[in-house]
Symmetry: C2
């Protein structure tokens, strides 16, 4: 197996010669378009489908993308990853988030510990803890049940778990598996913690403090904030707080907490939703069984991602089409457009996942590269986005590739028929309509009403947003980002770019600044 820069590959040169050869508008029109939609879709896990008919690809291009997959040894690199190779070269770490949801290959043993067993043990502990809280065996000082769980964390300890919670909150309420309300405190802005604390009953709340290192300044600050609130209410913080951290952190096995649950250095923050980082809060909110179903949805998708054949590997195919769009068609951002209110914060999670993983300018050996890497990611749920930024997507001067997500059924049991259709039918009709409007556009003598078309999109469709499909979605995008990182020959698992700001912020707080930094500090009223 060889780690080579993308632009050294034969398939890179082939792709470069194939820029803008595919006319989506033409290919998607008429009966050929119908045929194309049927042919250009492949199954995902959990009964979902990935359809790429409206992407700027054809059979010839797909062949070269397959060559690229083979030449870049994507399947082998994934195999190396899940078998425990040091894929995170910068930090010299294994990358094991897939192992939290399934045994994909060999046993992975590090520091004498079978990691799969370790992750399962933590899941079991979190499950037992959640069950005891739900059963009223773990209670507050007055012997009363806890009703609310509050996650204190930032970045990967916040965005993923929060997005997953919101994705299933209403589903769980309808399905009788909503055990506790969940809330999230993340920002160091004191108003974030204040507002959350004001909205809950602290006496019946359990706080889940999440920091791998146990040193994240925002999180420790918000912990102090919460402890103050508990103490002011005459409560004992140690009876209201658990920690999720690494075994070597100052938070581990600390008597200040009811209990501690462990992750390790082999799971990056943005990949940690399926570890204890997401497991504790989601098991508290929905019960361990629902969390297990999310893991199952991930595991099946992780299995699919093993296929070396891109037509049988939606994450790999999605990744390769994305690379083609980025490096050869020059598109610099991607919009994620879930037609499901439950996925309202899923784009924010994907924004971190993708931009923090692949927003890199050096290869995995720390050498500067000469091609572009990860795009900017943004998105809002449809149909809201349609009444907002879609104007630019349809008629702006640049092209932004689109990732739609849709479901046949909504989550709650309430719907209404207006003008002959349900809201859910309207929602789905809109996503179908948008894909075609973007792909084929519309001729009009009035240039202002003219739609150029040729604006590429793909869609992932599921039956309903539930634990399994949610897990599949999560794993799909994690694996897509991973494969793109392999193609670009970058390390998708470190984040050195976040360090400098932290260092300078500390200087400001220590008043050890000079020059412009001093002036900005004055402008902001710190000095």
């Amino acid at each position: 197996m060889e780690w080579k820069n993308f632009d050294l590959l034969e398939s890179y040169k082939k792709l470069e010669a194939m820029k803008e050869t595919v006319n989506v508008k033409e290919l998607m029109s008429g009966e050929n378009g119908a045929k194309r939609v049927k042919e250009y879709q492949i199954p995902m896990a959990s009964g979902m489908t990935y359809c790429y008919a409206a992407k700027q690809v054809d059979d010839k291009l797909l062949e070269v993308l397959q060559e690229l997959a083979d030449e870049a040894e994507l399947a082998d690199k994934y195999k190396a990853l899940y078998n425990g190779a040091v894929i995170n070269t910068g930090e010299k770490r294994l990358v094991l988030h897939q192992l939290t949801r399934g045994q994909l290959g060999d046993d992975v043993v590090a520091d004498g510990i079978n990691k799969r067993e370790f992750y399962i043990a933590q899941q079991t502990r979190a499950a037992e803890f959640a069950n005891k809280v739900h059963a009223g065996e773990i209670v507050n000082e007055n012997g009363e049940k806890f009703t609310t769980a509050v996650q204190i964390g930032i970045g990967g300890s916040d965005l993923g778990p929060r997005a997953l919670y919101l994705s299933l909150e209403n589903w769980a309420k309808v399905n009788g598996t909503h055990k506790m309300e969940a809330r999230f405190i993340s920002n160091v802005d004191p108003d974030d913690a204040s507002a959350v604390l004001a909205s809950i009953d602290v006496a019946h709340s359990i706080f889940v403090l999440v920091s791998k290192s146990g040193t994240t300044l925002e999180t420790l600050t918000n912990e102090a904030f919460v402890k103050n609130a508990l103490t002011s209410a005459g409560l004992d913080p140690s009876k209201h707080m658990v920690a999720v951290t690494s075994e070597t952190s100052p938070l581990a096995g600390n008597a200040d907490y009811l209990d501690s649950f462990y992750m390790d250095d082999f799971i990056g923050g943005r990949y940690s939703s399926t570890s204890a980082v997401g497991g504790v809060i989601l098991s508290l909110a929905f019960g361990p069984e629902v969390f297990g179903r999310i893991l199952k949805g991930c595991a099946e998708e992780d299995e699919l991602a093993k296929n070396a054949d891109i037509k049988k590997n939606p994450a790999m195919l999605d990744a390769l089409i994305g690379v083609y769009e980025r490096n050869f068609l020059g598109y610099s951002s991607t919009a994620v457009l879930p037609y499901s209110q439950g996925l309202s914060r899923f784009p924010a999670h994907l924004q971190q996942l993708d931009m923090e993983s692949n927003g890199k300018s050096v290869n995995r050996f720390g050498e500067k590269i000469d091609y572009v890497t990860g795009p900017a990611i943004f998105g809002e749920p449809g149909t809201n986005g349609q009444h907002s930024f879609y104007q630019l997507l349809h008629q702006g001067t640049g092209i932004i590739p689109l990732q739609f997500v849709g479901f046949k059924h909504n989550q709650m049991d309430n719907d209404v028929v207006i003008q002959g259709s349900t809201s859910q039918q309207k929602l789905c009709a809109n996503v179908a309509a948008q894909i075609m409007a973007f792909a084929c556009g519309k001729d009009d003598e009035n240039c202002n009403k003219y739609f150029e078309g040729g604006r590429p999109s793909s869609i992932i469709v599921g039956d309903q947003l539930n634990p399994e499909t949610l897990g599949t979605l999560l794993a799909h995008f994690e694996n897509k980002v991973m494969f793109q990182g392999f193609v670009w020959n970058i390390n998708s698992f470190d984040q050195e770019g976040v360090q400098l700001g932290k260092v300078l912020a500390k200087k400001v707080l220590a008043k050890e600044t000079d020059g412009a930094l001093t002036e900005y500090s004055k402008l902001l009223g710190i000095f």
Copy 2:
């Protein structure tokens, strides 16, 4: 006054010759950097400051930007707009949102009506209505006070009012002006309305139905959803609902509503927060006095925007720097990064405001243009974003200009000292640190820890996020977008790009499809 395409201007050619001449990294380093920060800031309304020191501009370039402002007659065009010219050429409409908050020039009379008086009359009616609701003079069927106000609207009837509500919710709670809870229903996904309805006490809720045309499908569908819920609870919908609409819409003066409040065709959805669209819900939530203070913050900023001197006109300067970045430095997106939890949804509002206004490929006469227009806009509150997508902003292969917003004081009265500083100080230290990290970067022999720097940003600083500063922020960005539209010679006030999708969605619902649209409809389970 002449409306000319941007690339026909002399200053266009001059700017084209000045690509990438300014080295931010160098200019922001050392004591020169300190001097630059002090010099490159100008006052905004409400005591705020716009600082552009970390932008890729110098005095020479600013001179040419001033020439551009003069040559494009930006101040004159703004004057024409607020004096009632038909600036929205596509729809042949005046553009009068500034008139909702102040008389900037001549009286504007349309259809025999003085429009300023009309807008004030609607504000007064909304204020009286809100006061009566708060005083218990307008009550539910059981004579009980309403406690919650729910806006039903989408796009501009949702994003702006929602962002403003969230911006002041906690401020109002601390300052004793929080009169009612506000909620928002927008998406046609039935789970959106279901979840909101499940979270409120419908018997004590008043619903504000907002649709200018009275025909927005999503909004009418959600209205039916809400009416069902009211009827099921044994309540009379006409006692729980008001309409905000145009006087010619089917919703106007309709006995199905407690009352109707009016807007007109001269205020576009995304510019409508200061009309009755925002006025009714915000007056209900915070009282008319607070809404009046928002308008005051806008009006002062609108006045500032009259200045032909870009050094005295922050919106115009911001606009011109943005144009330079977009057209000559080739940056295709902009990140909005408010360091204030209250502004959590403000980027989503700006995303609509900017991308729907300036995502255009034809000039105001409907002719195709040959230069790029509006960028993609996205953002999340700091410090959350720092732990997410900032990696790409710092070390990605492309440059994304940054718009920071910061405040010296937080909104709520709670803060905590950890490691010698308050949370608010940490928040502000982080924004100062980030600006410098982006501007100056950091050398390192390890390429993985190397920060190139030269990544441009500006910052808007205020004392506190309150009604006045919020209004100023809102108007600043509206005016920025307007000036950019003038430079690009496009119509920033129509949105033809949203039409095609609507037409196709109707075809799907009527089952009048063929080709690929049929297949997508099947895939999504509609057929």
